[in-house]
Symmetry: C2
Subunit: 232 residues, 2 copies
């Protein structure tokens, strides 16, 4: 009685599965997405499959060329830089707004999610820990962004997050599996929270921009050594 959108048709399912497979690297950038292969893999007809693909094209995760089929969108250091720059600008702007407009319940949400994130250090299997830290990290940043009060800005933010996801995945392992990197992040987050609650929106904006740009050289490095396409 609560959920508004009951995902149920095959196109939706195919969309979700394929998106996961692409962002998690089951398909490599540039790979041809054969209709026959996809149909077999997901046990789904060509119609719904086409629908799912064309949605991913809109999200820039897949490219299409008429009569020649679909491919996984390529990745490049150039695109990495552009995506992260645009994303950092947007997030910084949203943060400035959030500090200026956010009320007490927003502050509470930020503090709560920051605390939850800081408690991930406990015992976990490697993969489990990665997933947990990632989801809480995302929740933390979302809690901050929510304060901007604009649904459309949050939508834009989400589209950028999705476009960054494949690149972010590269950074994630590097960070979560390094005690030093993780500690650095924890520091940054602490500082962020302090500035957020201080009410200095201009400073918060600058700091968020820096925070969002930090992963760029790390990911660049990884992509350069692996030759752009991250083969396993």
């Amino acid at each position: 009685m609560s959920d508004k959108e009951g995902k149920s048709n095959l196109a939706d399912i195919a969309y979700g599965l394929l998106k996961r497979d692409i962002t998690e690297g089951a398909f490599i950038p540039g790979d041809k997405l054969l209709m026959s292969a996809l149909r077999e893999r997901y046990e789904i007809g060509a119609g719904p499959m086409r629908e799912a693909l064309s949605r991913l094209v809109a999200e820039r995760l897949v490219t299409a060329e008429s009569q020649k089929g679909f491919r996984v969108a390529p990745m490049s250091i150039e695109e990495l830089k552009d995506i992260y720059f645009a994303r950092a600008q947007l997030e910084a702007m949203i943060t400035e707004l959030a500090v200026a407009r956010g009320d007490e319940s927003w502050e509470a949400g930020v503090i709560a999610s920051a605390h939850t994130l800081s408690k991930v250090t406990e015992v976990h299997s490697a993969e489990e820990m990665l997933g947990l830290w990632d989801s809480r990290h995302k929740a933390f940043h979302l809690a901050i962004a929510k304060g901007c009060g604009s649904a459309k800005l949050l939508e834009l933010r989400l589209t950028m997050l999705e476009q960054a996801e494949r690149y972010r995945q590269l950074w994630l392992r590097q960070t979560v599996f390094s005690a030093a990197a993780l500690e650095t992040k924890r520091d940054e987050h602490r500082q962020l929270v302090d500035v957020l609650l201080s009410g200095d929106s201009t400073k918060a904006r600058r700091m968020m921009f820096e925070h969002m740009m930090n992963p760029v050289p790390i990911i660049s490095e990884i992509m350069a050594t692996r030759g752009l396409t991250r083969g396993e």
Copy 2:
């Protein structure tokens, strides 16, 4: 040898036609988009039609409910305000970047498109004049935005423009068909160009934000008197 994306399959065509029909008001917000009706109207099969519809859903111009079909996305004063606010924030941010980063060829582009826009006053039929002013107005703002140097930010800007299009359409007639309103706009544009070229990026940002927000009360008024759904 120049065009990269040769639009040719039926889904693309249906997408373009339906999008035009929705933004130009051939379908009213809330209207049910019957498969049979669409197939007949565009002389296209159900498969490609579905594909076109699901793309418009991603763009928020159409809503979908599983097993119950598609509808033209509703319009509301609330959404109007949110879209325009988000758009103004984004455009203001892009403008600030453009002023800071733009080179001489950017300045030249801005001046040229401003001049072209100012010359629309000549003799034209009403509808012709409306189309011409609109396209040149868009070109003017695009020329400014291009200076930001980020393809992704320009993409975001475009998605917001598309989401605003139905509301903008309401404002357009009101403005273009009033000599006084048109003169006011011309003034605003002159001032904008002055500040842009002065290099004061902070002032440019503020001014662009104001400029983008101006239409909101006008459109609100129109929607309120017409009861939100603009029946002809």
